[in-house]
């Protein structure tokens, strides 16, 4: 790392805080522009999906254990599993499947 980690953290924290605090302090009315509002509405889903796949495949010891965790996670979340349940289940699936795979 040639950059300063503390400056990196400061940049992240500063931007994140401004995003959160500016609407609370400045904008007291709702955003009226439908396109902008729609863009902001879709952003988290697209970003998280792009970040999840295919990166998840290289996060564990085996591509197959990760793929299995992805499928189990999707099925569980689809059936209404909570954030905590889905996250823990994905971990358990990887741990158990890698006992056989690795």
């Amino acid at each position: 790392m040639q950059h300063n980690p503390y400056l990196y953290i400061l940049v992240m924290a500063g931007v994140t805080y401004l995003i959160r605090v500016l609407p609370l302090t400045l904008i007291r009315k709702e955003i009226k522009n439908v396109t902008l509002r729609s863009f902001l509405f879709y952003v988290p889903y697209v970003t998280l999906a792009v970040m999840t796949f295919p990166s998840i495949l290289s996060a564990t010891g085996s591509v197959w254990s990760a793929l299995l965790a992805l499928v189990v996670g999707i099925v569980l979340a689809w059936r209404g599993g909570s954030l905590f349940q889905v996250a823990v289940s994905a971990c358990v699936v990887v741990f158990v499947s890698e006992l056989f795979l690795c």
Binding site: M1, H3, P5, Y6, Y8, I9, V11, M12, V15, T16, Y17, I19, R20, V21, L22, P23, L24, T25, I27, R28, E30, I31, V34, T35, L40, F41, Y42, V43, P44, Y45, V46, T47, L48, A49, V50, M51, T52, F53, P54, I56, A59, T60, S65, A69, L70, G73, G80, S82, L83, F84, V86, A87, S89, A90, C91, V93, V94, F95, E98, C102
Partner: protein, 243 residues
């Protein structure tokens, strides 16, 4: 019957406790990710204590690992945390217009998916003391989990670290899948985003694009196109709150 500030605070602690426990487990994997890219446990904890953002921190770590410029990191943070802008807009409507600036600045420190969710669910107007109660347990939960992950990542067997590393992705799945089920546009977008991400990262000609840039470009392109093609109507805002 108007509730006292203390009652609001206590209710915040009560509702924030399950959130804090979930954070403790989930941020553990964030700590491992931070350690993997070369941050010290203290830096990992500091990042969590000052950011309180799962996806934003994770994306930030990816860019830090790649030695990105401060500007790239700022843009990435802006994009991955853009949803907090929407949440804060919505939360500003929930506050009494007379709420002093200092309270607005303090609750703005910890507008997360989960705390937003419980804040917006309280009946009538929101008292900032409720958020302080939730923050009093959620902030340490998130920071301590990250610290433990960064410290224990070294001690734990490789198998366990491998298993825990997938936890954060599990959390992302838990955030994007339930709305995908309710809203067909989101469902198609999620599938399309994953396919596009896989395509861009597997085509060798496009390897000049860094992972961070890939996330930024695809997000702006796909979410932008969706905003133009499928503008969100008023009634669909509830799905966003549930996320």
């Amino acid at each position: 019957m108007p509730q006292s500030n203390l009652t609001w605070f206590r209710n915040g602690v009560r509702d924030g406790m399950p959130i804090a426990l979930g954070y403790l487990a989930v941020s553990f994997t964030l700590g491992i990710a931070a350690k993997n890219i070369g941050l010290t446990p203290f830096q990992a904890m500091l990042a969590s204590l000052t950011n309180n953002a799962s996806a934003g921190e994770f994306a930030g770590f990816t860019l830090i690992a790649a030695g990105a410029s401060y500007w790239e990191l700022a843009v990435m943070t802006l994009i991955t945390n853009a949803r907090y802008l929407l949440m804060s807009c919505s939360l500003s409507q929930k506050l009494d217009p007379e709420t002093p600036l200092v309270h607005r600045m303090l609750i703005g420190y910890d507008v997360t998916d989960e705390i937003f969710g419980i804040s917006i669910a309280v009946p009538d107007k929101l008292n900032p003391c409720y958020n302080y109660g939730a923050m009093a347990v959620a902030l340490p939960g998130w920071a301590l989990g990250t610290l433990l992950g960064a410290v224990m990542g070294n001690v734990l067997p490789v198998r366990v670290v491998s298993a825990l590393s997938v936890g954060l992705y599990g959390m992302f799945i838990a955030i994007i899948i339930p709305p995908s089920r309710q809203n067909r546009v989101i469902g198609v977008l999620v599938a399309l985003s994953m396919a596009a991400s896989w395509l861009v990262s597997s085509i060798s000609l496009l390897n000049v694009i860094s992972p961070g840039m890939r996330i930024i470009l695809l997000t702006v392109l796909i979410a932008g196109a969706a905003a133009v093609l499928f503008p969100v109507k008023e009634g669909e805002k509830e799905a966003d709150r549930a996320a």
